[in-house]
Structure formats: structure tokens, C-alpha cells
């Protein structure tokens, strides 16, 4: 069974791009969330091996979602997806328990490297 990853981003384009990269590398994208609240609910239900988490989203932002997921599931693996210029938020997310971050526009190699470092090969 390939390892399961959940993508959280309010932009359809980003979800599609990340899914293409991850599936191409052999991972399974089990779920997609459009905001932090959806991600929290889906995490509770499915407990994916890793979550890719955007920062700026409606309803519940990525930073809040990291804190909420981490509170309930201290062992969760979360990688932040950040735009240039969100350094302070990324630092806070890492302090809150996120394990790494990737910067938009995404480079496929960097996405795979980050995921592999945390959950290993597919």
C-alpha cells in the first residue's frame, strides 16, 4: 500500500499540481481539503501519513489547523506550503509542530525530497 498524503489548499490549481507530483512519485493522495477546518475533520477520520498544508486559506488558516491537528495528534506529519514572504508564519508553524516547508512555485524535486525525508519512500 502506498503511503497516504492529504493536500490542503484552497486553490484548485495547487491541489492538482501537488497531486500530479506526488502520484507521479508513487504516493497516494487520499484526500484533499480546501481549508484548515476540512483538513482537521478529514485528519480525524482518515489519519493520513502526511499532510501538505497551505497557510492562507478561508474558514481556518493553515497555522491554526497545524495547532489543532497537533493538539489531537501529536505524532502527525505536516509540511507547510508557503508563498514567498511568509517567513514569520512558517517559523511559527514549525514551532507549532510542522516538520518542514516547501515554497511556491513548487519544484517537484523539492516536494518529493521533503515528503521522503519525513515518511520515506512511497
Amino acid at each position: 500500500m502506498p503511503k497516504n498524503i492529504m493536500i490542503t489548499d484552497d486553490a484548485l490549481f495547487m491541489r492538482v499540481m501537488l497531486k500530479t507530483i506526488l502520484v507521479g512519485a508513487g504516493y497516494s493522495v487520499s484526500h484533499e481539503a480546501g481549508n484548515g477546518e476540512e483538513a482537521l475533520n478529514l485528519y480525524r477520520e482518515h489519519k493520513p501519513d502526511l499532510v501538505l498544508m497551505d497557510i492562507t486559506m478561508p474558514v481556518m488558516d493553515g497555522l491554526t489547523a497545524v495547532k489543532e491537528i497537533k493538539k489531537e495528534f501529536p505524532d502527525c506529519n505536516i509540511v507547510m506550503c508557503t508563498a514567498l514572504g511568509q517567513k514569520n508564519t512558517v517559523v511559527e508553524a514549525i514551532r507549532s509542530g510542522a516538520k518542514d516547508f516547501i515554497v511556491k512555485p513548487f519544484q517537484a524535486e523539492r516536494v518529493i525530497e521533503s515528503v521522503q525525508k519525513i515518511i520515506g519512500a512511497p
Binding site: L12, M14, G85, K87
Partner: protein
Amino acid sequence: MKVEYVNPFVSSGHKILEMILQEKPGRDKLTALPTVFTSDQLNITVGVTGAIQGTVIYGMSLVTADKVASVMIGQPIKTFDQLAASAIAELCNMISGNALMLLSEAGLVCDIAPPTLIRGSNTNISTMDIPAVVIPFVISQGEFKITVGLKERHVAEE
């Protein structure tokens, strides 16, 4: 409008367009406008609040939007659908985000609102009394314009 409000969008436009399209964009001369008006077929507006406030509009033809979205998606798009719109909006978000980082490094800390996509020619988008500067980028997919209409936020407006 102060040049320090425009320059971050010039350098961010160059940087992000080059990263996304894998080619160096060219640029025409900057144009000053008394207010924002756009004759482009597709406009993406992004509101800016904080130390400076106003609107930034990304404008292009539908043909250019189709071609840029095709590059971003990695395959030709048949119609300008939700995915293509999301790709273009995300491109504008990346340029805005990078420009805001440069503004914050200069001590002007701002936030951006989610982008709004407007289709239709001869759209008149008024920024009231905020003058605008148009930054026209020339890319192989066509013309990609960034119209920056920003001004200082005065304490009295808070």
C-alpha cells in the same frame, strides 16, 4: 505614486513570471494613470491593506490567459475552466505575495485579500482618488500587465 510602491511589483513580476514560464519576460515602459482603467479581457484584482492600501490589477487577454494557464498546468487547456482560472489567480497571488515581502522588508507591512477574477473588455475599475502605474510585461504568450494603485494609509482613515 511613490516609486517604492511600484518597484516591488516590477521585480516580483520579473521573478515569478520567469520562474513559472521558464523564460525571461520583457517589459515596456511604465505608464501613469489618474485612476485605474483596464481594457483587458481578463482582470484579476487584489486588494491591499496595511501600511499602504489600494488595488493591484493583473490584466491580460483571454488568449494570453489560456496560454499561460496551459504552461502552468503542463498541457493545453481546451476551455478557460475553473482549473485555468485557479492557475491564473495563483500566479497573481505569487507575484503579490513576493511584492508584499519586499514592501515589508522596506518597513511597509501589508496584507492582501483573495484575488477576484473579472472577465469582460473595457472594464472600468475605479480606485477613486488613487493614481495608478501600469507595468506592462511582454511574454511569449502575449502581454501581461500589472496595474498598481496604492497610497499611504493615513492615521485619520483608521
